[in-house]
């Protein structure tokens, strides 16, 4: 896969080269993965605003300040007017934050910023880091493309030029914003790692071209880029989920002598990542765990005692930080802060419903190995399973709401009102029109199945079953099943609460974006379109970003549209393009004649996703100062346009 480029030299440089090449392999896979990583960092920084976006950002930022001071209890509202912010919890008279895994992950970045700020101008730190990323990106791209000198020179020149532009319009960054910036840097790094994981997964499944295409679409054309620099858990959780996917897939592949670790280690790693996720959000980790168990146990190479013991031991070990944090907070290792009384609504207590009693009766019927952890979950966190049950109930009683979650949002009673009367709620399809490719390609897959089964629906379900059995041992099939299980798990967890205000891009279903991109990458017909017409796709995307973003700016300025209206313009244009792409992508399963048009439509939908990322960051939601002063300068220009 990769080779260390340190040839000869002293033992110290040799050791450094070895460490570097191992780190490269573990985190980004290969040199192309490094390019994907650096490219994602460089892109999302363009519209990175250092500040508080949603009120519960205060909770994380204040908890990080407290943790950096060496204690868990938050005793001062360094950010925000008071400590009663969403997500802050009250326990025995003390305030505590949540998502401690994410906060701890941000801690080294905070230290890094504080150390650098002792010698360097704080206002120039983030532009400096970005310029260095550009230099590295140029150098690594040059190597990947076989033009190392050109790449290195271009990277160096662009890095210095971009830095100079930022210095020319630089402004100070108050050191008191460092905790927020640290949370954001950690989220950006997590986003880039997540995008790289998708690249690695798809590259292993198919080829590098598809891998890079999937990564680029995920980072540049879906809301993964929107939440990349916002101090919320979504970026980190998506990175962990994609890490789980990759580890699970590797655990199914035949071992090769080149591998660093065995398939069993990869299997244990998948569980370890789930264990770490509990430290950020117990509920989502539980959903991830259920999906993993449901797919992993039936499809594993072997479920002998030794494998299961290794996996279980690593899993419990990986939850140590979660247990320790809980024990420190509540004295109870399995009671996470999310189950405490919310500081905001200290008057009302957590509620338990009838669904819990129903579940208890269900759990009692399960084998002890499954029932034991479930009972624990029930005892301490009734919310966990209750969410799945109420989700299933919602799907049965009110399936129509899926339309409001996935297709068209617009003005939804109760949602717009809580969004300051602005229609800033976007559905999955409106926020990322490019995912239209999924639905159509999957529908075409079903049509193919029906065709081969003689047109009978009954036959096709039987055939699906037999296929599942036949491909039970196939690594790709296990990965597909995991993707489906994850989607179902997250949908059940959250559908009863959606549509909701303060979602913007249905952020509760954030893992759907990587899953959708994965589903598209798995379609043979879309891969054929990519292989034959990637140039058409890229040119359309480039044109759609350069021209399209300007057209949006002009339209919004000409109509002097409010924020909600501007967002709806994106939604409607996105839906129109998504419809075209859906039809063309579906057609690609039957004919090759429309491949070029499919590539163009795909490029256009991707461009609309990118336009929304750039303009939401630079024009519609300019809530704070920009990490890159030059971006702030552009945003000021757009504001006066």
């Amino acid at each position: 896969m990769t080779s260390a480029d340190g040839v000869g030299g002293s033992p110290v440089t040799d050791r450094f080269a070895t460490v570097r090449s191992v780190a490269l392999r573990v985190f980004v896979g290969d040199r192309l993965g490094l390019v994907v990583f650096l490219g994602t960092l460089a892109f999302v920084a363009l519209y990175w605003r250092v500040g508080i976006f949603i009120t519960d950002n205060y909770t994380l930022a204040n908890a990080l300040v407290a943790l950096a001071d060496g204690h868990l209890a938050v005793d001062e509202a360094v950010f925000g007017p008071h400590l009663e912010t969403p997500g802050m919890v009250l326990h025995e008279g003390a305030h505590y934050g949540r998502n401690y895994g994410q906060i701890v992950f941000a801690l080294p970045f905070l230290w890094g910023l504080e150390v650098l700020a002792t010698v360097a101008d704080p206002g120039l730190l983030l532009p400096m880091a970005w310029a260095l990323v550009l230099v590295a990106l140029g150098r690594e791209s040059g190597r990947v493309l076989g033009r190392p000198t050109l790449g290195a020179n271009a990277g160096a020149v662009c890095g210095v030029a971009a830095f100079a532009v930022n210095v020319a319009v630089a402004r100070p960054l108050a050191p008191r914003l460092f905790p927020v910036a640290a949370l954001q840097v950690s989220a950006i790094v997590a986003t880039a790692l997540g995008v790289v994981m998708l690249y690695r997964l798809v590259t292993r499944l198919h080829d590098r071209r598809t891998g890079v295409a999937a990564a680029v679409v995920l980072g540049l054309a879906t809301p993964v880029g929107f939440w990349a620099s916002l101090p919320k858990r979504h970026a980190v959780v998506v990175a962990l989920i994609l890490g789980t996917c990759y580890a699970l897939y590797r655990s199914r592949l035949s071992p090769s002598p080149d591998d660093l670790v065995s398939p069993l280690s990869f299997r244990a790693t998948a569980y370890a990542i789930v264990g770490l996720t509990t430290w950020i959000h117990g509920g989502e980790a539980f959903g991830l765990f259920l999906a993993l168990v449901v797919v992993d146990i039936p499809t594993a190479r072997s479920n002998d005692i030794r494998s299961l013991a290794v996996v279980a031991a690593v899993f419990f070990l990986s939850m140590t930080p979660f247990f320790v944090t809980n024990a420190l907070l509540s004295g109870n290792p399995v009671r996470p802060p999310r189950t405490f009384l919310s500081a905001q609504y200290a008057a009302g207590g957590p509620s338990t419903g009838s669904s819990e009693r129903f579940l208890r009766s269900l759990v009692d019927g399960l084998p002890p190995a499954l029932a034991a952890p479930m009972t624990v979950a029930l005892d301490y966190n009734a919310i966990l399973l209750g969410q799945f049950v109420s989700g299933a109930e919602t799907l049965v009683t009110d399936p129509g709401r899926l339309y409001r979650v996935f297709v068209r949002g617009g003005d939804i009673p109760g949602v717009s009102k809580d969004n300051f009367s602005q229609t800033i709620y976007l559905t999955v399809l409106e926020a990322a029109p490019v995912v239209a490719g999924t639905a159509a390609a999957c529908a075409a897959g079903v049509a193919n199945l029906r065709q081969s089964a003689g047109g009978s629906v009954r036959w096709s379900t039987t055939q699906v079953r037999s296929r599942v059995r036949a491909f039970g041992a196939s690594p790709a099939a296990a990965m597909d099943a995991f993707a489906v299980a994850l989607g179902v798990s997250f949908l059940l967890m959250y559908v009863s609460r959606l549509p909701l205000h303060a979602q913007l891009t249905v952020r509760y279903l954030h893992p759907f974006y990587p899953l959708a991109v994965y589903a598209m990458a798995r379609q043979a017909s879309l891969r054929r379109v990519l292989a034959r017409h990637w140039r058409a796709g890229i040119w359309t995307w480039g044109g759609g970003v350069l021209l399209g973003s300007q057209l949006f700016v002009v339209a919004v300025a000409a109509g002097s549209l409010g924020r909600g209206e501007a967002v709806q313009v994106h939604a409607l244009v996105g839906l129109a393009a998504a419809a075209a792409f859906a039809v063309l992508a579906a057609s690609s399963a039957f004919t090759k004649r429309l491949d070029r048009a499919t590539a163009v439509a795909g490029g256009l939908t991707a461009a609309l996703g990118t336009d929304f990322l750039l303009l939401s960051g630079l024009a519609y939601f300019p809530y704070s100062q920009y990490a890159l002063p030059a971006a702030g300068w552009v945003a000021d220009l757009l504001a006066t346009a």
Binding site: A152, P172, G564
Partner: protein, 160 residues
């Protein structure tokens, strides 16, 4: 060491050195001037003002909410020094609503300069009349003094 390697490391050193030169230890230069430095200082001569006589509450795109749209005002700047401020303010007494947008003028803002008021969205329940009487004002702030450039009534029409 070949030239391209030299270029890359040169770029890295340059990029890393500039923040240090502007940093708290060395402090040779201060490259990060606060953006509000000198704001409100200087002088300006405004010899003509054009303000709209109507504003509108428009139904928002694909929603029942209303968007308040106030056309730009225009001021004619005859002479300017420093960075004076102009604030453009609309108040609707019947709704107990008031909003102002402040613009920083700079030395190259001479001749006709457009001054805008940010749009705002209103819940449908808050807009009950067919039109509202409002006050529109333009105020120039220089060296802690206020000069009213315009202060007059404006009608805000509600369009369905």
């Amino acid at each position: 060491m070949d030239r391209s390697r030299l270029l890359v490391w040169g770029a890295v050193v340059l990029i890393c050195c500039v923040p240090v030169l502007s940093g708290p230890v060395v402090g040779l230069v201060d490259l990060t001037k606060p953006p509000l430095d000198g704001v409100g200082d200087g002088s300006a001569t405004i010899d003509d003002v054009q303000v709209p006589d109507t504003a509108r509450f428009d139904r928002a795109l694909s929603s029942d909410s209303y968007v308040l749209k106030v056309p730009d005002a225009r001021i004619h700047v005859a002479a300017i020094e420093g960075r004076p401020l102009v604030s453009y303010k609309l108040s609707i007494p019947a709704m107990r609503y008031s909003r102002a947008t402040t613009h920083f003028l700079s030395a190259d803002d001479t001749g006709w300069v457009a001054v805008s008021l940010a749009t705002e969205t209103f819940a449908p329940a808050n807009v009950t009349q067919s039109s509202y009487e409002a006050e529109l004002s333009l105020i120039l702030r220089v060296n802690d003094t206020k000069q009213t450039l315009h202060d007059g009534p404006v009608t805000v029409e509600v369009t369905e």
